[in-house]
């Protein structure tokens, strides 16, 4: 399976929401999509293209915008594929994949607490590695290691 196969398999179903498919070393390709078709893409990947396993969800802070990278694996094609979408920094929201792949649950919790990306309709979006009430998102570029953070944890009441 290569980028062309992915493009062909998805183009009719996603329309303009599919921004393109690039070749990517070590994978079947990287699919760039608009967040408006996220759920549609997840379902197509699992049901039609056979990517039954979600390996991880990575959040990346590009300062002016944020990227979410999903890594999927297909037991049929024996290949990984990357899905990538960009979110505006002032409204970093995307539909949760945990309804399609239950394994997304913890990975999305981590992406939320580390890079401040909100996953809509996530069943259980709370802190995973950081203590409850931790008010920072450490993997944002604005979180500097060299400026010592205040020792007292700011509790945010929710």
């Amino acid at each position: 399976m290569g980028p062309e196969d992915l493009q062909r398999g998805l183009a009719s179903r996603l329309g303009a929401g599919l921004l393109g498919v690039d070749a990517f070393d070590g994978t079947a390709g990287r699919i760039r999509f608009d967040r408006s078709v996220a759920l549609e893409l997840f379902r197509a990947m699992r049901e039609e293209l056979g990517f039954g396993h979600l390996s991880t969800v990575a959040g990346i802070d590009w300062v002016d915008r944020r990227e979410v990278v999903y890594v999927l694996w297909s037991d049929r094609a024996l290949q990984y594929v990357l899905l990538s979408t960009f979110l505006p920094a002032d409204d970093p929201k995307v539909e949760s994949a945990s309804g399609v792949w239950p394994s997304a649950n913890w990975h999305e919790r981590e992406a939320w607490e580390m890079v401040d990306i909100t996953f809509d309709h996530h069943p259980d979006l709370r802190h995973l590695l950081m203590p409850d009430g931790y008010a920072f998102h450490p993997l944002l570029r604005s979180f500097k290691l060299h400026e010592p953070e205040s020792l007292e944890v700011k509790v945010r009441h929710v």
Binding site: D25, G26, L128, L129, L145
Partner: protein, 381 residues
Amino acid sequence: MSEMWINMGPQHPMTHGLWNLRVRLDGELILDVDPEMGYLHRGIEKISEDRHYNEVITLMDRCCYVAGMAWEHLYILGAERALHVTPPERAEYLRVLCDEFQRLGSHLMWYAAFVQDLGLMSPFLYGMRDRDLVLDLFQSYTGARMTYEYMRVGGVRNDLPPGFTQQARKVLDWLTDRFREYDQLCLGSTIFRKRCDGLGVLKGPDAVRNGVTGPMLRAAGVKRDLRKDRPYAAYDRLEFDVALADGADVTARYLVRMEEMRQSVRLLRQVLDWLDGHPGPVVADRLPRWLGAPYAPVGAEGYLLKRQYPKGVGFAAVEEPHGEALAYVVNEGGEHPYRVKFRSPVFANLSAARTYLVGYHVADIPPIMGSVDVCVGEVDR
């Protein structure tokens, strides 16, 4: 009877690390579980953004303290793709050597800890004794027993010392005999079988949906091993079989790990033969000075990277002793990675805890969690 939540951890012998398993009980029956992680979070991904590429290797050893080599290999593969560097062939074989000895070391550690969870004290001592032989080998060519810092972007730090391959073959012969004893001690024991058979069942489809990988997945009969499916380093030139079992329970996971150790021995014999017959460089030439092992100073030359290497994103996946580990390394042209993201297999295996714990009893938790082979260092990172 009334229901209640109890905490198993963070200081409970079955945790093998520092985490808290919250369990909702009705009497002895498990109704729900909620693992609480983060006690060992050191911010390795964040610290990596502030370090030179080769300095991140130090952190990788601390990621999983029983499988440091596998994590070094993972990061190095990701970084090499992001920086467009190719290692020489001998370095690839040396990396397989590291990986497979690490798999032996990790599985022996698992064996020791797992049988101790079941209350068997003697096999614990045998497991630790035999793991020490593997650590001695590591010490002889890396200088360290657990935190090696051996792999480098573009190769490995140094070649093997004289006489290493003979010594390694002796250890492999010794281990092969011991595996037979382990099986007699465990599979031949009624007490062991009664505590393990039919417990913690996780069938193939459930395992795949929940992101479970590694020995847990292969114990459910799903034939998936990155060393076979997406070979990296020198695995495509070596012969071995994927360990499989179909019981999907604790015993099946025991069988898979035991078979994996035998396959590791088989792989290592081939690797040692190859290394004996093919001397050569262990580091790629034409690296920027600070990236080039072994004795390059870290300094202002770091900025060479900016001119010599184009930007890139590296994606790598390796079959770590616990399962599939992934790295995603973003190189924005500076001397530090812009972002690194690691996927820990134990992280995913633990997130599926509900599927293999609910419905069993409190006393079943230690054997089941023991069969998961938890390493908290790589979950929390």
